[in-house]
């Protein structure tokens, strides 16, 4: 048995929690880059980043469905769920930091690192030694072996898939199943905003495995092809189109897109201060208040999603509507000059503390509209 | 006061937003009920009062009044006329469609009911003023700020 193997249900649950954390962690960087683009410019880039971000939301929801299916309780309000940027994510070969940064070539390259397709060579232990990184959060690490990490996100998910197969197999032998979760807690495509038919409930091993494979495919892609099984371009290649300035077409080879040109204007973005913190904004200023209010609202949003993932799936629709409101709040912050920063602009800081979220249960109520 | 008159005043309270003390204080209640009786077809005033009696209590009362009295094709125009009667002391001819459907009394013309009714109009009270040409507030009172309602 490999040291990466999952052998208990609790272990599986903690893996799935990490998966949710991982999927969520990519959202803030994508959104900051997306909304830093000046309106009316970079139409292609806007579409590309937006679609990827939406799919990360889908993956997050899949992870929640998986966790719910085996009787877990997704909780996005746990302290530390939202990383403190910059943060580390695992990748295949080398370490890199993920930043909250404006749209730029460098930022897109950063995104390519995040989505880089890679699986550990066969026969190699998928866990590799982890270097010490100071205070930064580590995602994709082994829940039990904190000094180790997965070779790639793909390996991380593969471990989950293996764990599911193994544990369900064991359970079946005893006439039981690990899929004991309440089916009513599953989020279906009815409640998920975009892409009809993509999201399906997880109720047994088959649906669980389908879900995991979709996440892997949509995200990092498989090494052999740039399209996933739904004939969609994997995230890595979507971003790659911006670097190459050309769309991929069916049949194109990796790194050689031959489709229509993609026009990118790297300068048409607000120069948001990278990894901006509340502390960078003059205390007491309107801007500070607005940034703090955003964090607070974001924390409430996570609380609302948590509620949706815990038996009130219809709440997701409302949460999504609130997410659209964040878009507006984010663009407001991004277009405000940051005082004393030589022409840089502010942005959302995503510093979400339990205090910012208010009392844990008060989340949904406090979102009551003011009419 | 008869039960019917009491019911009429209670309906008027609902319609005008003034309490019964104010309404009875105008001294016009009996006269207004008589006007309704004289202009409307037989039984319609009682229909109106019955509709009022059927209203639920609580927060649904106003919406129900809006729907079943003011929103009713037959009773709505009558109720609105009654409000104007209280506020302005004048009767407004009912809408042509109403007259055609429910029958028009010869007295159903737009007219000021009486000199008393003019002076009793609630509109002046609402404005924090006095009927033009009557109930003057006294020399120089106009230089002070208004006391509304």
């Amino acid at each position: 048995m490999d040291s990466s193997d999952i052998t208990t249900l609790e272990e599986l649950k903690s893996y799935l929690y990490s998966a949710m954390q991982l999927e969520h962690a990519t959202l803030p960087p994508y959104l900051v880059a997306l909304y830093s683009i000046k309106p009316g410019t970079n139409l292609d880039a806007t579409q590309i980043i937006r679609v990827v971000a939406v799919e990360e939301m889908l993956h997050l929801t899949f992870a929640a469905n998986l966790l719910n299916a085996i009787g877990g309780e997704p909780d996005l309000t746990v302290p530390g769920f939202v990383p403190n940027f910059p943060t580390y994510l695992p990748d295949g070969e080398q370490e890199f930091l993920v930043h909250l940064a404006p749209f730029s070539r460098q930022t897109i390259e950063n995104f390519l690192q995040i989505e880089r397709p890679s699986l550990a060579p066969s026969g190699v232990n998928k866990l590799v030694a982890r270097r010490e990184h100071g205070p930064f959060l580590h995602l994709g690490t082994h829940p039990r072996q904190t000094t180790m990490r997965y070779y790639s996100i793909g390996d991380f998910y593969k471990a989950i898939e293996d764990g599911l197969v193994y544990l369900e197999g064991e359970a079946q032998k005893q006439g039981k199943t690990i899929f004991t979760g309440d089916a009513g807690r599953q989020i279906t495509s009815q409640y998920y905003y975009s892409g009809g038919g993509h999201l399906h409930p997880v109720t047994d091993l088959a649906t669980a495995v389908t879900a995991i494979r979709l996440v892997i495919e949509q995200g990092e892609g498989q090494t052999a092809t740039i399209y996933d099984s739904q004939k969609e371009l994997a995230h890595y290649y979507r971003f790659d189109q911006l670097i190459h300035g050309r769309y991929y077409r069916s049949g194109d080879a990796i790194e050689h897109p031959t489709g229509e040109p993609v026009s990118v204007d790297w300068d048409a973005a607000y120069p948001v201060k990278t990894d901006v913190k509340l502390a960078d904004i003059p205390a007491g200023s309107e801007l500070h208040q607005a940034a703090a209010a955003f964090n607070q609202a974001y924390a409430r949003f996570l609380a609302e999603i948590t509620e949706a993932y815990n038996g009130k799936p219809h709440k997701l629709m409302e949460a999504v509507a609130h997410m659209f409101e964040f878009r507006n709040a984010m663009t407001v912050l991004i277009r405000n000059p940051l005082p004393g920063s030589n022409g840089l602009y502010a942005g959302p800081t995503f510093e979400v503390s339990p205090e910012a979220a208010g009392a844990p249960q008060a989340g949904a109520e406090s979102l009551e509209v003011v009419a | 006061m008869t039960a019917r008159e009491e019911s009429f005043v209670a309906l008027s309270v609902l319609l005008t937003g003034y309490d019964s003390v104010h309404l009875l204080g105008t001294g016009m209640a009996e006269q207004y009920l008589a006007i309704l009786d004289s202009i409307l077809p037989t039984g319609m005033v009682d229909d109106l009062l019955a509709a009022y009696q059927r209203l639920p209590q609580g927060p649904q009362r106003e919406p129900a009044a809006a729907a079943t009295i003011l929103g009713d094709a037959k009773l709505g125009p009558v109720a609105r006329n009654l409000i104007v009667l209280w506020y302005c002391g004048s009767w407004t001819q009912l809408p042509a469609a109403w007259r055609a459907t429910y029958g028009a009394a010869p007295q159903d013309t737009t007219h000021a009911v009486s000199a008393d009714a003019y002076q009793a109009g609630l509109q002046w009270l609402a404005a924090g003023a006095h009927p033009a040409g009557a109930k003057a507030q006294g020399y120089g009172a106009w230089a002070l700020g208004p006391e509304g309602r």
């Binding site: 999504v320 509507a321 663009t331 277009r335 | -």
Partner: protein, 165 residues
Amino acid sequence: MSQLEPFLAFSAEVTAFPIVELQGTGQAESYLQTVEDIVGTQRLDRLLVLYQSLPLATREDIRQARADRLRRDIFGSDELGPIARNIIKLWYSGTWYELPSAWTEAYGPAPQDVTFVVAPSSYVEGLLWTAIGAHPAGAKAPGYASWQWPPHIPPFAGDPAATPR
């Protein structure tokens, strides 16, 4: 850039949107430019200097005095009032409205003074929509089914409905 700060301060007071939100539209410079191009820098200067000379509102009574002065000296001015009103409309709708003919006769026509949407993005950034808890038709969509819930109308400082007078 020198004019931007007072322009924003004035705009914030007359639109009842904080500067952060005005900046957040990304339109501040182009609106300032629009106003300057049409009415001239000097005239806008005069408006902003006059604005800056208003008494600071620290107490309730002075607040009223300030509002009265703003109304009398700027909105009540033949020359500056139409500009001030146009600045409000600019922020709220992204549209520059042609100045009244009486103004043009008195202070001279400007060739650019026609009713126009400053830019497609200024339509999208109109504060009108934010104020009413909606979104510009055709942009910033609030998401599927969002329309079935009551609107989220953002609270704002000085709302007469929140602080009965």
